[in-house]
Assembly symmetry: C4
Homo-oligomer: 370 residues x 4
């Protein structure tokens, strides 16, 4: 089995995972229009390379929020890594540490924060807004103590999207996997199967609040010195508001097509968001992007469209499922190879020059579907 493209790992993951787990990973909301749209929007991007720059030592180092990163890449929060591999988040965090990219621990991590801190990875912590504000603050404190460098507040999940594959499969957590940070064990809602519905969705509906507003962000801002990144912003006005409320950045994301089906593809939303925040007083404000990134060319496209970096969701999990820590490491190193290759061939000795590349758009995808 060749491993020459990141998508090669998807085939391996699919082969080893239970259908219901694969579907949970691969699937999206309703018709999966936005899942497909994320790719369609990236697949239309045509990059205009420059020539005759010295690219013998392409520099990919950068700072994401306040964290150093060897690549303009961070690992996106993905719930329950132990569904994909017994070592779960431990394996992925170790691979991230080795690759030198920030690892985002999810509220629904299946491994404890403290254990993950020991991997040496730069950690970010993703926050789902718990209905119980006490528990929410506890999580923040625990993250602070574990040495987390940024809080990623997911703002596109007032409740979970309608993932029809999970409903059809009656997706449920197995007894061996649970939300390690929520002190709930394996008898909670996420473990109780029901016909035509996802137990994971029911569980989150029970514990997450659909009533979070900008006031809550302001309140959280007052509770912690950690920089805040709002994940799931697609409208430029929301990005500007995020800055006004003291966030240090946004992740342009539609949650990998798992929330609102028919939501705008991330690469289509990105330029307007980047432009809207370009003139803001706080020049440290960053626009990251995720949803559909699958290659070094995609990362380069994201930079050219205005992002400071990308988050990786499914590709990292493909590596995890395909080969644990080393599978994940292979994915990350392949992406580094691809990115260095793309930067060099686009005539970019560094990331800043990547943001200056001209971008054109094809009316449709002319290439081979992965």
């Amino acid at each position: 089995m060749t491993r020459l493209a990141v998508t090669d790992f998807a085939a391996e993951a699919r082969a080893v995972l239970d259908t219901s787990v694969w579907d949970w990973l691969d699937g999206g909301a309703e018709r999966e229009w936005t899942v497909a749209g994320n790719r369609a929007a990236l697949d239309r991007v045509a990059l205009v390379p420059r020539v005759l720059a010295d690219v013998s030592g392409c520099d990919t180092k950068t700072t994401l929020v306040d964290s150093g990163a060897s690549l303009p890449v961070a690992i996106a929060p993905v719930a329950y890594h132990r569904l994909f591999h017994p070592e779960g988040e431990l394996a992925t965090a170790r691979a991230a540490a080795a690759a030198g990219v920030p690892f985002t621990v999810g509220t629904l991590s299946s491994v404890g924060l403290e254990e993950l801190a020991e991997t040496g990875a730069v950690l970010w912590f993703q926050l789902y807004w718990l209905r119980d504000r006490g528990r929410l603050l506890d999580l923040v404190r625990r993250a602070e103590e574990a040495g987390v460098e940024a809080l990623v507040v997911t703002v596109d999940v007032p409740f979970m999207g309608r993932r029809l594959r999970d409903a059809a499969n009656g997706m449920t957590l197995p007894p061996t996997v649970h939300a390690a940070l929520l002190d709930e064990g394996s008898s909670g809602r996420a473990h109780r199967s029901a016909r035509d519905s996802s137990a994971i969705a029911s569980h989150t509906a029970e514990i997450f609040s659909p009533a979070v507003t900008w006031h809550d962000i302001a309140w959280l801002r007052g509770q912690t010195r950690l920089p805040l990144l709002l994940k799931g912003v697609l409208d430029p006005e929301d990005a500007v508001r995020a800055a006004a409320e003291g966030a240090r950045g946004v992740v342009v994301s539609n949650h990998g097509g798992r929330q609102l089906d028919q939501a705008v593809p991330a690469a289509m939303a990105l330029p307007a968001v980047a432009e809207a925040v370009a003139g803001l007083p706080d020049s440290r404000f960053q626009v990251l992007v995720d949803s559909g990134i699958r290659s070094g060319s995609d990362i380069l496209s994201a930079l050219a469209l205005g992002a400071s970096g990308v988050l990786l969701g499914r590709p990292v999990i493909w590596g995890l499922a395909a080969g644990g820590e080393s599978g994940c490491a292979r994915v990350l190193s392949l992406l580094e190879t691809e990115l260095r290759n793309a930067l060099g061939l686009a005539g970019c000795p560094d990331l800043r020059s990547a943001t200056r590349l001209r971008v054109a758009r094809m009316p449709y995808f002319p290439g081979k579907t992965p």
Copy 2:
């Protein structure tokens, strides 16, 4: 059989219906370009969600023309429901009553107006312009007496479109079904089969007038206090004229692709119509839309493109055929679920905020065809 998407009911309906009835329901004019185009236009819409609004209690209640509605939805007029289920319009009207949405009784209803009034549904009455003006006025009076709340005047049927499937099938009404409001029994033109032509088309050619003009609308306006909705308007100037003639709204519609083939898809025509009437003095003037609406995301798209609500044609009939009143109720409740989900995930606590969503357009449909 899963019933997780509205289109799942189409498969069930197809399985239980005679081919010629299914074809009559499913088909459109000539090449069915407009049938496909209706979907293509909706499938290009990319919605830009907002975040951090309190969506814990999404409010979907609204007023359509003068009728209260629990959703921005009304049941479109569809001729002869008894072709699809023995209870016919009684079943669909009951489901509409339960769901709290207006039910449009057609001129070609296969159940009497008075019986339908007893279901407790909010009723609208759809008027085809009969050649015999006396009979036309009789129908209006009967509708008024039955407590109908609006008259829906269909303006895109000077005669019926060329539906080739019906012609090929020699589509004819069975003896058990007839136009209950036209006092014709089962021996009329609609029951007489002929090779390579549709008896339903011949019947309507016989009794409907192709000579209706704006003057007739003005005349009708003088005959009744019921609010008028003109159904089948696609050009902005016609919408403005409708308002000038005292109509209370238009339905942007190409009759589900059953009249002029190559007519503009409804979602493509909608924005210009909505814009044209935005500045009119009568702020109560409404733009509704139908033709191709199949999901909560589609309803949200319609609102974002400028509609106050949608009419549902085929989806309601799929439910009726698949399971009578309860099948129809399932379709309506699924749409409510989807709409609430979409509103929440788009950050819209109410319908008004939905009309402010940004809309982008993909060059083609990236998702899975239903």
Copy 3:
């Protein structure tokens, strides 16, 4: 076999014709990009209908150049009708006479002009520019004497396009068919087969001039009082020049995709040409169009895009092959039915209102391929 759409006749024609004759009819130049493009451009057109006009008596009568026509339609010049049916042009001309539309006799007619005049059809005569100017003038005189009402000068054939199917088939005229107006009998170049080339192409290369210019048009203008129509114009400047040289109109055409492959689809070129000539002093100057017209909706689209009428090429021949005069008559009457239907459903009581319809464009063809 149903005959509900014009394209249904194509299947019948294909079934009765020799492959090499079918290929000659159906094929186009090189990759047949323009053949497909002609449909693609028409298939993108979305028409915006009007409502509430009295369409009880849609008037389709018009004048094309100086000829009365019951429809905005003329029969395009097509060489050698006897390849498709023993009666050849006699059959098609009779059908045209019955339908009340002008019939264009080609320079490569396989039936004599005088015989065709006896059918009672309004005749136009299509001129290929013979290298021998004497023979050319003879043809013009013969046309004048036969009562022809217009000269259609084909300007897109300095030589024949590279029709690869014909080359592969070694396309040759059978002994029973020859160019009746060229007094050549059956021993000429068009009857001599050669490997990997079309004898029809060799023949035309021998007798047609590739050196015709605007000066020749001016000269011809001085030789005859017949109105001139230049067929094969796609650039607006050429249309303006045509008017300046005294032509009475142009046919926007790429010869059905048979000349320059990659030539702009006719429906794409039409609006700019129509606009360019709109302000010309001679208001009688007409823009006709052909290449890809297959239905009443297509004719309506052509009018809405600025044409005064259309020419029909292959569809007429499908009818001829499928059933001689009566097959051809069926095609024409189906098109009349479709056009009347389309006009009525678009709210157009006459052709003038059709030219005022709004036109939108889909990014791609959503409908069923014929």
Copy 4:
């Protein structure tokens, strides 16, 4: 087997070549998005022909850089022709000489420069920037002495693109083929196979410099009186800079999709480059283009989009593989036939009028895929 279109030769080549050689020829970088995009961009071009020009003697002669050419065509540099035919570059150069078009000898030629000079072909020499500047200058001198008329400096290969087919095949040079101008014999890196990687890529990484800049171009300019053509320019600013540094032209090229995957298709980049250099003081500065040219219509499209001529890569090699010198000659003569045909049918008596053709763009490719 028909040879009516240039792409017919691809099938023949594929049939005779080893898979790994075919893949090396046919393939491109990563997903081959740009390979497909090159065609997609050309396939959208719709040309607007002119009429009534005397095209009896279409003149295709031109000057490319300082070389006379019978067509606006030159043979692109392609490494190691002996992989495709035992006579290698000798065969192709002879065919080029016969056709009267410049032949570009590659740095990675598998036949010596001096032998090629004896074919009588107009020679250009393509320069890859060797890490060893001494060897680089030696190559330039050798080229000058062989009578080369232009230096083509390839600027899009700081290192080779990631060609996944070659990596999967472990592509290696056979002992019979080597880089004749690099005095390396058959024991170098290009001959040593390795798993999951291309020996050709490893070899070039070893000897080519990724650190070339505009300063090096200026230096080279000072070392030779040969005119310089920079091959691989896509951004208009780079073209303007090329002129400022004294180059005599650029080749708009993405290396046939073999370098940066997701690089803009050449035909999409061409107009902006042509426009940017249109106003430059040195009116001799030329814009050539390659990547995807497969027919006379494509050459005409390139001219209409602003190029002075095209380079041909793969098509020439298809001919070489299919039939050595005569196969190659067939490809070139077919292209000449097609170009003369296209010019004539577009109403262009010469190349200058081709550059004035109007160009439209279809949203997608309507034709048959070759």
